[in-house]
């Protein structure tokens, strides 16, 4: 087949809602766009372990500690699924890690905010994982087969993350005045950054149009954000907390909540490297990566020894 015919076959598949699989011909732009999005997604899972991991040793009970440990472990697994998925497109894990550590690759800017109190662990599970789920449910229908399959797997595992976070918030809200105030404070700090997770407005989003055309993305940033805003209102009400958005109002005509504007200056400040924890996150990743080098070296030395013994025998 000629390049033209291959391209036509590719677009026919996209048109017919068929998945693209690793060995298929695909336009270079499609491949690069996927590598960018999937590796960014993988980095987010891994960097996202840091703010919550910070609380594992200080969880208030053994039950909470076990839950948090299990959740953070899940996120590490999600990172692995996604790095492997990106590798089907011809990029190596080492290249992706290098791009992350040299700040060429991005990750979800929400993880540049610190988890300052125990209530933040609840707010992160409820809001940050909640927003991630809205996005990932939509991505189950992405056009690239391996990405779609990893999203299906991740969504199954993700369901407990949001529930444990909300349960934690509910416990605090039914506790003392102080505990409830702590929950309110966590909500206030994480609500807006959670909305930013869906990315800039569709009109401002550099990659959106092409991604939608290729069906890598299936719903626009603003539509997904609206979904999250709508589902979160009754959840805040049920906790008996105050909504951080003073402009939130049900719009009968639209069948959605109207809402206040996001502070986009903050969004661009954090995404371009100047959030509260950007440097710390990358430094931590590099440090742990380097400190773990001896384990990788020891494993490969052991493999070599085993191979030599097998040859000698």
């Amino acid at each position: 087949m000629t390049e033209d015919e291959l391209e036509q076959a590719f677009y026919r598949r996209i048109e017919n809602e068929e998945k693209i699989e690793p060995k298929d011909w695909m336009p270079e732009g499609y491949r690069q766009n996927l590598i960018r999005q999937i590796s960014q997604h993988a980095h987010s899972e891994v960097i996202g372990m840091q703010p919550e991991g910070n609380w594992i040793t200080r969880a208030p009970s053994l039950r909470r500690k076990a839950i948090l440990l299990a959740k953070v472990q899940d996120e590490g697994g999600h990172g692995l699924y996604l790095y492997s998925t990106a590798e089907t497109l011809g990029i190596s894990r080492a290249e992706m890690i290098e791009a992350l550590q040299s700040c060429k690759a991005k990750y979800a800017s929400i993880f540049n905010y610190p988890a300052q109190t125990w209530a933040d662990v609840g707010a992160i599970g409820w809001l940050v994982d909640g927003a991630a789920i809205v996005n990932q449910v939509s991505l189950q229908r992405t056009s690239y087969g391996p990405y779609s399959r990893s999203m299906i797997r991740i969504c199954k595992e993700e369901s407990f993350h949001q529930r444990q976070g909300y349960e934690l918030m509910l416990t605090l809200c039914r506790g003392t005045e102080e505990q409830k105030a702590m929950a309110q404070d966590a909500l206030n700090r994480f609500y807006w950054p959670a909305l930013m997770m869906f990315g800039p407005h569709d009109s401002e989003s550099a990659h959106s149009a092409k991604s939608m055309q290729w069906k890598i993305k299936r719903e626009s940033n603003d539509d997904l954000r609206q979904k999250f805003i709508d589902q979160t209102v009754p959840q805040i009400e049920f906790l008996g907390l105050e909504h951080p958005d003073k402009d939130i109002r049900w719009n009968e005509e639209r069948g959605h909540y109207d809402h206040g504007e996001i502070d986009w200056d903050e969004f661009y400040r954090v995404i371009s490297g100047n959030g509260p924890c950007n440097r710390q996150r990358i430094q931590h990743h590099i440090r742990v990566h380097e400190e773990g080098a001896w384990v990788r070296d020891a494993m490969s030395a052991y493999q070599q020894k085993k191979r030599q013994r097998a040859q000698a025998a």
Binding site: R13, E18, K19, I20, E21, K23, R63, A66, I67, A70, D74, G130, G145, S148, R149, S159, F160, Q162, R163, Q164, Y166, E167, L170, Q231, P234, Q235, F238
Partner: protein
């Protein structure tokens, strides 16, 4: 060459684009290319798939079901990994 001594291959078929490859069976072949052709002849006579993988059986490392108790033990007592472990009131139970 004695036929019985040919390598055993495991065959995996993707039924439809978007689905995982599923194990369907095994066969003997001289080499991977031949295994692929045999697999086509044996396992996809009725359009069962759009893609075939063949893997030399001896290249597969498998866990043993007999050992499963010890092997899976670390996760058996962690019900908090399931969404159903968290009981939420009906009003907010849809998450």
């Amino acid at each position: 060459m004695i036929k019985e001594h040919l390598d055993l291959y495991e065959v995996f078929i993707r039924g439809k684009r978007g689905l995982d490859h599923k194990h369907v069976g095994s066969l003997h072949a001289e080499d991977p290319e031949q295994a692929l052709e045999y697999a086509r002849d044996i396992y996809t006579r009725r359009g069962e798939g759009v893609s075939i993988w063949v893997v030399r059986s001896r290249d597969i490392t498998a866990s043993q079901e007999d050992d499963s108790e010890a092997f899976y033990d670390p996760s058996n007592d962690k019900p908090y990994r399931l969404a159903t472990y968290y009981r939420l009131p009906d009003e907010v139970n849809n998450m």
